[in-house]
């Protein structure tokens, strides 16, 4: 007997909320980026749990694509962060305001 669907969904909700708090509270650009990855993972858990509950592999197929896009996003995002850090010499998001000027 495996744990019920609700447990997985609540775990997913908590993980997602932690990611949201991380994006809002931290100013280090890398930690914010990692919080976004946490939120993606929370969504993955919910997708797989629903797929398991509904006897469908569609959720798992979705997760394959989510992981693909997350990898692409991480590569490009970290490239942007490196370029920004070289340009401004800071990792503080509140100092990255070139577009405002």
């Amino acid at each position: 007997m495996s744990p019920p669907l609700e447990w997985y969904l609540i775990f997913s909700a908590l993980l997602f909320s932690i990611g949201v708090v991380g994006v809002l509270v931290r100013r280090h650009v890398l930690i914010i980026f990692m919080s976004v990855e946490l939120m993606l993972n929370a969504c993955n858990v919910a997708l797989v749990a629903f797929g398991r509950h509904l006897d469908s592999l569609t959720g798992q197929n979705f997760v394959v694509f989510v992981i693909t896009v997350a990898a692409a996003e991480a590569a490009v995002g970290l490239g942007i962060i490196l370029a920004l850090a070289r340009h401004k010499d800071t990792v503080d998001v509140s100092e990255m305001d070139i577009l405002k000027q």
């Binding site: 993980l15 909320s17 509904l54 692409a72």
Partner: protein, 173 residues
């Protein structure tokens, strides 16, 4: 309590604790390592859910590739010995905690009160997956038939991302 539920609670507790530590840790290297702990526990949760292929992919791609990329960037950024930024505005922390708690409570209430466990059942039952030869075979059959076009688009996306990352990492941008 049966063994699977106990294992789930263990994995969930460790994953959530490590996720909190990602945010609390002062040193970004520690954050990345706590993130690794979270990802490995989520992979274990995928095994509990019968998604063995995704568990392997989670460890290989997330823990293996993405987090190593993060570690590299953390070490590249830390050459300037500047104090790491903390919370900016005085109201930022309480507001963020309130928003996060509200979100968690809302989703939990929806999960507990609404009929989320109802829906049209699919055809990929445990027996059907075993008949197809296991999780990897069943997933591969769907991925290369039903989801063939998204699959090819995803591969093109990866190519574009590779070129984009190479361009962004050039010295003279």
């Amino acid at each position: 309590m049966d063994i699977l539920s106990a294992l789930f609670l263990l994995f969930a507790a460790v994953a959530l604790g490590a996720a909190v530590m990602v945010l609390v840790a002062r040193n970004p290297v520690h954050s990345v390592l706590f993130m690794l702990l979270t990802f490995v526990n989520v992979a274990a949760m995928f095994v509990l859910l019968g998604a063995e292929f995704l568990a392997v992919i989670q460890v290989l791609v997330y823990s293996g590739a993405i987090l190593v990329l993060f570690l590299f960037v953390v070490m590249l950024l830390q050459r300037s010995e500047r104090p790491l930024p903390t919370v900016a505005q005085p109201l930022q922390l309480p507001v963020a905690l309130f928003v996060g708690a509200a979100l968690a409570v809302e989703i939990t209430l929806v999960v507990l009160l609404a009929a989320v466990d109802q829906g049209r059942k699919g055809r990929d039952t445990v027996q059907a997956i075993q008949q197809a030869g296991g999780n990897v075979e069943a997933l591969g059959q769907q991925l290369y038939t039903t989801w063939l076009l998204p699959f090819e688009i995803a591969s093109v996306l990866l190519l574009v991302a590779t070129v984009g990352a190479l361009f962004l990492a050039k010295e003279e941008l």
